[in-house]
Amino acid sequence: MQMRKVIKFFIIIGILIIATPVLAVQLNLESDIETVNVGQKFWLNLMLAPEGETINAIKATVNYPQDKLTLININDGGSIISSWIEVPDIKNNQTTFAGIIPGGFSGVLNPFHSEIMPGKVISLEFLVNKGGEIKIDLNNLQVLLHDGVGTSVDTRVMAFEIIPTEKIISSSPKKEVEDLEAPEPFTFQIIKDESIFENQYVLIFNTQDKDSGIDHYEVQEGNLDFKIAKSPYLLENQYLNGKIIVKAIDRAGNERISRVGPPRQDNLLERYWKFFIVLLIIIMLISIFFLKRSIKNNEN
């Protein structure tokens, strides 16, 4: 009887040792501030610590008390996400984002640290509107493994909590680092595919900005005005006989331009074939008219 109890005890201990999660994938909302006052702004970083896993896709909504905080700025500069499916943007005072890391993310190797470091997903700037306990958390979270089938992985979220003080803090606000660098050089592609836009020509583009992140892209076709664009972008000029310029603009206003001359030489016959056919018919009708009149005159 005593022996059985001992065996049971060791089995339970064994299960606990085996089953205790070593480390789970973590998403941490971190800030270097310890106190904040009403009326002040602060930055929050969302960091992904894969803890031994390899992650390649992530989607989440940032959840915060909208009466106490206003989300005023987002920075995806230096993000581990290289291709955004849903670009992090402020819509209805909240943000949802989704993106992938081709090849997977297992942590940042940093020569100055022996351990593998977490990677930044996005940074968020908030303005404190009123006092009271504040909790910033993530909703609708999906973190997927780099396993070829998109297996969902359990993720521990470390929410950010703070109670703003009403009194004015004497310390001067942290000076933000100025972004003077343009987005990274890039090229764009002109493709057409039966799966999208009814097989019409579209532009494909993407680049990164390591400081403030990409704010938006603009496209200019020929001498038309620049238009705000998103890849894939349906070209207005399907004849491709005008120059194309794509501009990437970061959140600090720096620009990087990529351009090509007219991808195709202007083919007037191809462009105005309907006009040429109408013209041909008119010429033929006029010719027939004069021919008939000439025959008639000869007969008379």
């Binding site: 089995i11 299960i15 085996i18 089953a19 205790t20 031994g52 896993e53 390899t54 390649n56 896709a57 989607k59 500069g77 230096g78 993000s79 581990i80 290289s82 291709s83 499916i85 849903e86 992938i100 890391i101 081709p102 090849g103 997977g104 993310f105 297992s106 942590g107 940042v108 190797l109 940093n110 020569p111 100055f112 470091m117 990677g119 999906q142 997927l144 493994l145 780099h146 396993d147 070829g148 089938v149 998109g150 297996t151 992985v153 359990d154 660098e181 990274e184 050089p185 592609q189 493709i191 595919d193 799966s195 999208i196 836009f197 494909i204 993407n206 390591k210 400081d211 890849s231 894939p232």
Partner: protein, 349 residues
């Protein structure tokens, strides 16, 4: 006795349930890719592998140690020895050299990658998922490639190799911090072998040829997944070519996959791409389906690559109803994050 047996079964069930609750992915056969690379910085005053010296750390070397007669050895900004202040005795016939000096050139922010691929293979470097550089490995399969003109910040780099028959290795991906004005050296890459098979279906009991390219004269382990996993080893030749004729008598009828990895001088690569084949009643020679590009999963425009174009096509159908069959990668009727995760796994840049 029966009660005891029932209790034991109950206990086993509890253990399994406990494991399943705590590790939901316990029974998922998810291959994780581990990378083992070394990152060094030129400029941190610590001489590391790939550097002659670093700042004040001369690795115990001196002018005399380098064959000069006297003088002061210094370290250049690119972490190579600067012998401009070393002196040689004019009477010494073995002397010479010296001179140089002048204004030091500013150091670029750069990252250098080195490691092993396959002899004469093309090695591609992806920066933040787009191809930015390539190089050709030497006859010993070693490669070295440098990226310059980088800003400081976190980068995700990936590498893969294309063998002499244009077969691609799986991607090695890692993220690292690049600091301004420093040369970051990332060494120790060991690219997994390329792999191919001669039959898409093999008659049970016949051989299936499993072959590819890797580092020369290394040991290749070939794994064939079945109810029981089979491991076979073979050696690559001086060109890195390996071939193993696997006897399928030990396999059950049905679907199987095979993959390979390489070991050389104590270093072991990860397993490379997995290829599927069927054990059946007849032999069918493996041929690429011309209607499906190169047969790469997630190559939705059939150009034999998985890159930004495929991503954009998928993004066009994101959360839209009734996507084309070939766009919906997991066949669940909608393009969502899982489809993008599958694409990210098969990315080639």
């Amino acid at each position: 006795m029966l009660v005891k047996k029932g209790k034991i079964n109950g206990l086993i069930l509890i253990i399994i349930l406990g494991l399943f609750l705590i590790y939901p992915n316990f029974f998922v056969n998810a291959d994780t890719i581990n990378i083992s690379v070394i990152v060094h910085i030129c400029g941190d005053n610590i001489q590391e592998s790939g550097e002659n010296c670093d700042g004040s750390d001369l690795a115990g070397q001196s002018c005399i140690g380098l064959g000069h007669d006297s003088g002061t050895l210094t370290c250049s900004l690119d972490c190579t020895f600067n012998v401009s202040q070393c002196e040689n005795d004019p009477d010494d016939p073995g002397g010479g050299g010296g001179g140089g000096g002048g204004i030091p050139t500013p150091v670029e922010t750069s990252v250098t990658f080195s490691g092993r691929a396959y002899p004469w293979s093309e090695v591609f470097v992806l920066k933040d998922s787009q191809i930015v550089a390539s190089t050709v490995a030497g006859p010993d399969a070693n490669f070295l490639v440098t990226l310059t003109d980088l800003s400081a910040g976190d980068y995700t780099f990936s590498l893969y190799a294309e063998d002499l028959e244009d077969r691609r290795s799986s991607l090695i991906t890692f993220s690292t911090y690049v600091s301004y004005g420093n040369q970051t050296l990332v060494s120790g890459f060991f690219i997994s072998p390329s792999i191919d098979i001669d039959k898409s279906q093999v008659k049970r009991g016949d051989n299936i040829a499993i072959f590819g390219q890797t580092t020369p004269e290394s040991e290749v382990t070939i794994a064939v997944n079945s109810d029981v996993q089979h491991f076979k080893t073979t050696d690559s030749d001086e060109d890195g070519i390996y071939l193993y004729n696997f006897d399928t008598a030990v396999l059950e009828m049905g679907d199987h996959i095979t993959k390979s990895k390489t070991a050389l001088n104590g270093d072991i690569s990860n397993y490379g791409q997995a290829l599927g084949f069927i054990v059946g009643d007849t032999n069918i020679i493996k041929e690429d389906d011309p209607g499906s590009g190169c047969g790469i999963v997630a190559d939705v425009n059939y150009d034999c690559r998985v890159n930004l174009v495929d991503f954009s096509i998928l993004a066009y159908w994101y959360q839209k109803s009734s996507p084309p069959e070939h766009i919906d990668l997991n066949d669940n009727g909608v393009v969502n994050l899982v489809d993008f995760s599958i694409m990210a796994f098969y990315w080639t840049g």
